[in-house]
């Protein structure tokens, strides 16, 4: 029995868990820098959630490298094929880079990187305005890039689900079924 047509269970569980976490993270991030009332609550979520996403992304990357994902439909236009592959690797890159950048930004700003009361990560970047401005700017810019990529990914997924109906969307929703009619 081949799992070639669908992502394996670990990939699917990680995908949907992380989808919720990353979407929440983007809204928490953009909300916490604007809000004059919710910042402490949101930043207390933002740090541990970010580190969790980074760790899960590493697990996911290992799984992805060990298990070939189902191939895209052969009749998919070449530019869509390229876009799919490029955006997937961009998502992996950002899922790992964003938590590291956030951690480094706090380090460069001289802030303690507190995951929960009493649990402080060591700094990973030198404390100073040059490093802080650069890392903070990159964290913000790549957050917008990540949000745009997530929107593009979602749009493409729904395009497969509702317009092409080619099984690409369902390959991430459930495992292979014995019944036909996919």
């Amino acid at each position: 029995m081949s799992t070639d047509t669908h992502f394996n269970l670990l990939a699917r569980v990680l995908h949907w868990t992380m989808a919720a976490m990353i979407l929440a993270m983007l809204f928490i991030g953009v909300g916490m820098v604007a809000s004059v009332s919710l910042r402490p609550v949101l930043i207390d979520l933002h740090r541990p959630l970010g580190i969790a996403i980074g760790l899960l992304a590493l697990v996911r990357l290992g799984n992805r490298l060990r298990h070939r994902p189902p191939p895209l439909p052969a009749d998919l236009p070449r530019w869509q094929m390229l876009g799919a592959h490029a955006s997937h690797w961009l998502l992996y890159g950002l899922m790992i880079a964003m938590p590291l950048l956030g951690w480094a930004t706090l380090s460069a700003g001289g802030y303690p990187v507190t995951l929960w009361p009493g649990a402080v990560l060591p700094p990973i970047a030198p404390h100073g305005p040059q490093a802080y401005a650069l890392l903070h700017g990159a964290h913000v810019l790549l957050a917008f890039a990540l949000f745009a990529t997530v929107l593009g990914h979602l749009g493409a997924a729904l395009f497969h689900a509702w317009i092409r109906r080619d099984g690409v969307f369902s390959s991430m929703v459930h495992g292979p079924r014995r019944t036909s009619g996919e």
Binding site: S35, R39, P112, A133, I163
Partner: protein, 361 residues
Amino acid sequence: MSAFPLWLRRTWPLAAIALVLALLACVFAWAAGWIGTQRLTAQRFTNAIEANNGKVYPGYRRAHGKGVCVTGRFTSSGAAAALSRASLLAPGAVTPVLGRLSIAGADPHAPDAMARVRSMALQLTGMDGQQWRTAMNSFPFFVVATPQGFYDQAVASRPDPATGKPDPAKMAELLRKHPEIAKFQQWAKTAPWSNSWANTQFNGVNAFRFIDAAGHVSFVRWSMRPQLPFAAMDPAQRKDAEADYLTDDLSARLARGPLRWDMVVTVAAAADPIDDPSQPWPQNRRQVVAGTLELDASHPQSTGACRDINYDPTVLPDGITLSDDPVLAARAAVYSQSYNRREDEIARGLAPEATGRESAR
């Protein structure tokens, strides 16, 4: 479905996808404060403060721009250890301190002696990397009860370009909306001025939760009470004082020996306001001296280590957490904006004076 023309059947899924994406983008933009009602955001709050200052002083804090770095240590007496499990408050714990003494206002060249409000900010760093940051002021209670009140005050007190003074009608409207400001104005008018940072009491007017080893919560406020006796400065002395009077006085005193403040922790009684920093608690509340702050050196802020610190009062060690005082979250939000803006200016080389590469004019 067959009743629908072909083009509509082809189009509706596309429209649905566009709708989903547009909806998400709109919620994102709303969370960022880019669209929707002009709610008070950290950015708008900071913009209002900058506008009130009349100009931006690149690389300097948007409020309390003039100050000096200080270093020393905090020695815990252990008297507050029963209230909070924070390791910094354990008996005999000695914690290095990087602090800053400052005056209110944005102008980094303002005459020290004319500043009604003086401030002390501290960063205590424990061995395990946990930090306690606090920013205290010489006033005994905050001017307003809420962040909105502080914003309204910033807008109303903006100098009228014609007169150079705030519009009296706007100030009257402000007082009607936030009557607690009158109490602060009374303090500003009548309280004696000290002649040094060293003999000034600094009050952390916001309430915090102290959590003990068993998880019990006490609501507290803390103050730094100088060991030197208060000495007043009269209006004539203030007028005649040099611009850097407080900084020079501090250096002279530190040259003779360290300066000390006792950290006095006041514990709230059941009905005391714990979410309103404009309301002082009665004088007879239980107080403990949690320890002693000793400062033994000062450095210009342009090259001192305090320059690149955001004295965000919501950075707390295990054993201390925020209260529901709304001013704390707003301070964290606005301080962060101020920090990001000035660090960016320094990094871009736009702040030669704030970094000591160009002497003050």
